[in-house]
């Protein structure tokens, strides 16, 4: 097991290297010029060129890539072209809101979606099943920003229960922290809930047909025990896999959610950086997201052993 973990961690190195090369090359060939954005709309072509030179953007591809890789090896993600702040500092400023949003969304989604899927499977063919599946279709179909606007309108503007926007750090207290996260988490979680609920239902339906479930029933096990101890545990591997894959959905969704709810997280940082062509920031954030995604996959693989003792590494 330990050797497996070490192997997987080492395997992240070539993955990250490929991501780095890909991201850098993509940005290099993409149109757009940060110097033009910095110089402003009234700048002359000479001003733009002078700024380009001062930022080192006139250097050849290989020189720029080599210098960036060298800096990364030393743990330096570079300095933002626009803010003049180290990319690491900017990520540190933004990571707490995004992490909070993801954790709350994940907890909310799993705690709602798994029971929903289980109940739908148990009551298959009934109105409960159809209601759950109807919700799942809605969750998939309605864009996050529409859900976000609706929630903000109802719960913030009309009812005045929750704030419209912003983020309050956890260090300011649990209640203000969670108040700011409820609406974004529900908006972001709607797709995620739909996804997990559908997978849970499908997997549970399959498991509930197995012989050992029939045996459990024959032995007189209660319905709750059958559903949650016998069936759900055996259905867990695909569900956990989907939860892991869904982290990518969360990362993508966070970009929109953070914009709608004005949360100063990594998603907004990424969008702002892309629009301005702030190359060091884009590269740094994409590398971070890739690293997180690789680690999540590793964690999911390790979690399999908890749910299925037959799996050994």
């Amino acid at each position: 097991m330990f050797a497996y973990v070490v192997r997987r961690v080492l395997a992240t190195i070539p993955v990250m290297a490929i991501v780095a090369l890909f991201v850098f090359s993509l940005l290099y060939i993409a149109p757009g010029d940060p110097a033009a954005v910095i110089a402003g709309d009234q700048a002359t072509p000479e001003d733009v060129e002078r700024i380009r030179q001062s930022l080192g953007l006139d250097r050849p591809y290989l020189v720029r890539f080599g210098s960036w890789v060298f800096d990364i090896m030393r743990g330096d993600l570079g300095v933002s072209i626009f803010t003049n702040l180290p990319v690491v500092t900017m990520i540190k400023q933004r990571i707490e809101p995004t992490l909070s949003l993801m954790i709350v969304t994940l907890c909310l989604a799993v705690s709602i979606a798994v029971p929903m899927g289980v109940v739908a499977a148990w009551k298959v063919g009934t109105w409960i099943d159809r209601a759950v599946m109807g919700f799942a279709v809605l969750g998939f179909s309605v864009p996050v920003f529409v859900v976000g606007y609706l929630l903000a309108y109802i719960f913030a503007l009309e009812l005045d229960w929750l704030p419209v926007q912003g983020y309050t750090s956890f260090s300011q207290g649990f209640v203000p922290w969670i108040e700011n996260l409820i609406l974004p988490a529900v908006a972001l979680g709607s797709v995620y809930i739909a996804l997990i609920a559908r997978i849970t239902r499908a997997t549970m339906l399959e498991v509930l047909q197995q012989d050992y479930i029939r045996t459990a029933r024959a032995k007189g096990a209660g319905q709750t025990s059958i559903l949650f101890l016998h069936a759900l545990k055996n259905a867990a591997v695909p569900i956990v896999t989907v939860i892991g894959i869904g982290i990518a959905l969360l990362i993508g969704g966070a970009v929109v959610t953070e914009s709608v709810f004005a949360i100063p997280g990594l998603g907004r940082l990424t969008v702002d950086a892309i629009l301005r062509r702030d190359y060091p920031v884009i590269q740094g954030v994409v590398l971070l997201f890739s690293f997180v995604y690789v680690l999540v996959n590793l964690a999911i693989d390790l979690l399999y052993t908890l749910f299925d003792p037959r799996i050994r590494y």
Binding site: P31, G32, D33, P34, A36, V37, I38, A39, G40, D41, Q42, A43, T44, P45, D47, V48, E49, R50, I51, Q53, S54, S80, F82, T83, N84, L85, M90, Q93, R94, Y149, A152, Y153, A156, L157, D160, P163, V164, Q165, G166, F170, S171, Q172, G173, F174, V175, P176, W177, S259, V260, F261, A262, P264, R268, L269, V271, D272, L275, R276, R277, D278
Partner: protein, 530 residues
């Protein structure tokens, strides 16, 4: 983990986080904090290096200027106590006000001013003129400095006090010695507010704290002139990329003042009795599209005239700001309406709106169906609206339009390319100019037509350029107007660019905020909150 353990762990975690909730701000503290939603993100904070309006708007809180424009566009003394001009008009001697201090406690000295002006000059059109005339800029003593020029420069106070970017902000010498094309990383000014750097989250928030050492002038405040009295202790800029969110936050009282609500949301805001809505900047904006004078088809003046003759500014304005005529007007000249130099001399073609005549001109020009590469930034509502109208206009004119939908970053790069349109270049792009930047021909580089030295599109019209020195040399407003009249006529005849109309925008604020004025910058001094 059983239920009891879970609850215990939860209680411990909440306790460790500092309690259920942090104490709320007292009412007094809330009244001393102004939460403001700016037009854009404050991504950098060097008003010389980055010339975006949002940087300028934040910078006026932190840095002061020697002179400042009042609401009549007259430059008035600000940091300067007085000035003397020699008989021949070539030597200016300035004396700074007493008691000026930077936020680090150091006094503002002549050497700081000289370093600041030296950094500003290469980046500013009026500064470049001054640099060309500069013979000697020296400190006489800590509060007095002298500027000797090769020739008289009557627009000196205008240059040092204008609100067009980049403004001539005064910084400490150690900071101002930074090359003007390199970003500063220390933000120390002598203005009424200091920048709280450790609370700056680019893209989300910027905070300004009242500077107790600031000594305002005695005159009443008028835009950048007069006494800049800070009545609010703390100004928080809250960046909101989404207008619907900003609107909801203003209605909910989570922010106090929104700089630029979009027109679509104004009726909603107006229905809320806690919110005031008014025109933001009477100087407004001039919409435009620029044609590439270097390559076909727009290297042919007749083709440019055909387009200008056919376009209806009203179409552009309605597409952008809607049907409220109070928000826009059509233009017969290139300069900002209702300012001293505005003229419609020779501007009939701009208001012609005659499609048939445009078609005829196009035929006379021998247009041969060359493609028009129209690059349009879709992420800017203004350029998106203008681009759609232009594409339709050109098609109706019978031109071969290649509509390139892209983002502003790409337009910024591509418009600088002088290659032919089919080799990565372009034929036309859309933009707009702040009215405050279009009040005279020196700061208004979009109207200049000095070929390679001109703004993107590179128009070359000697008749336009000939009037710039005439305006500079003018000693009366009549002479100035005469020069600008001739310039306007030449610019229209040669279609330096196509104005698409003049438009203004709104600002909105909570009723408990008072003292907000209309102006090209959201002026915080004089604003209070109950």
């Amino acid at each position: 983990m059983d239920r009891r353990t879970f609850l215990k762990a939860g209680a411990v975690a909440i306790g460790a986080s500092g309690g259920i909730s942090a104490p709320a701000l007292s009412q007094g503290a809330a009244a001393r904090t102004l939460r403001f939603v700016p037009q854009a993100n404050l991504a950098n904070f060097d008003p010389i290096w980055g010339t975006q309006y949002v940087v300028r708007n934040a910078a006026v809180l932190v840095w002061d200027t020697l002179y400042g424009f009042d609401d009549k566009l007259e430059p008035q003394r600000q940091m300067v106590e007085g000035e003397e001009v020699s008989q021949d008009g070539k030597t200016w001697t300035f004396k700074l006000r007493e008691g000026l201090r930077f936020h680090d406690g150091e006094p503002v000295r002549s050497v700081d001013v000289i370093a600041s002006l030296t950094r500003w000059m290469p980046r500013d059109p009026m500064g470049q003129l001054l640099r060309a005339l500069n013979e000697e800029l020296v400190a006489v003593d800590d509060r007095t400095f002298r500027w000797r020029l090769k020739a008289p420069f009557t627009k000196m106070k205008m240059a040092l006090g204008k609100n067009a970017t980049p403004m001539a902000f005064i910084m400490p010498e150690r900071i101002a010695k930074t090359d003007s094309f390199t970003q500063i990383n220390e933000y120390v000014g002598s203005g009424p507010y200091r920048f709280v750097r450790n609370e700056w989250v680019p893209g989300a928030r910027a905070v300004f704290q009242k500077f107790d050492g600031y000594v305002p002038r005695n005159e009443p405040a008028s835009w950048l002139a007069g006494g800049k009295r800070a009545l609010i202790d703390r100004v928080e800029w809250v960046v909101m990329p989404d207008p619907a969110t900003a609107s909801a936050a203003l209605q909910n009282g989570e922010v106090d003042w929104w700089e630029n609500p979009i027109t679509d949301l104004v009726p909603v805001l107006r229905r809320n009795r806690n919110i005031m809505v008014d025109i933001a900047d009477p100087l407004g904006n001039i919409g435009s599209f620029r044609m590439n004078h270097l390559h076909p088809p727009f290297n042919n003046v007749k083709v440019r005239q055909a387009v200008m003759t056919a376009l209806r500014q009203e179409d552009y304005m309605r597409a952008l700001v809607g049907d409220d005529p109070a928000l826009w007007k059509t233009l017969g000249g290139f300069f900002t309406p209702n300012t001293p130099l505005y003229t419609e001399e020779g501007g009939e073609m701009m208001k012609a709106a005659n499609l048939e005549r445009g078609k005829q001109l196009l035929r006379e020009a021998g247009y041969n169906n060359e493609p028009v590469i129209c690059i349009v930034a879709q992420d800017q509502p203004i350029t998106k609206a203008f681009g759609d109208v232009t594409a339709d206009l050109l098609k109706r004119l019978g031109m071969n339009v290649d509509f390139v939908a892209t983002d502003w970053g790409t337009v910024g790069q591509r418009r600088a390319m002088k290659n032919p349109p089919n080799q990565g270049g372009w034929s036309m792009f859309h933009t707009w100019h702040a009215g405050a930047d279009a009040i005279n021909p020196v700061i208004y580089n979009a109207v200049r037509a000095n070929g390679d030295g001109a703004w993107f599109g590179w128009p070359n019209v000697p008749a336009v350029e000939a009037e710039v020195p005439n305006w500079l040399a003018a000693t009366s407003i009549e002479q100035e107007r005469a020069a600008i009249g001739r310039l306007n006529r030449a610019a229209v005849e040669n279609v330096v660019y196509c104005p698409t109309g003049f438009f203004v925008g709104y600002q909105a604020w909570r009723r408990n905020v008072s003292g907000i004025v209309k102006g090209p910058i959201p002026f915080v001094w004089g604003v209070s909150k109950s």
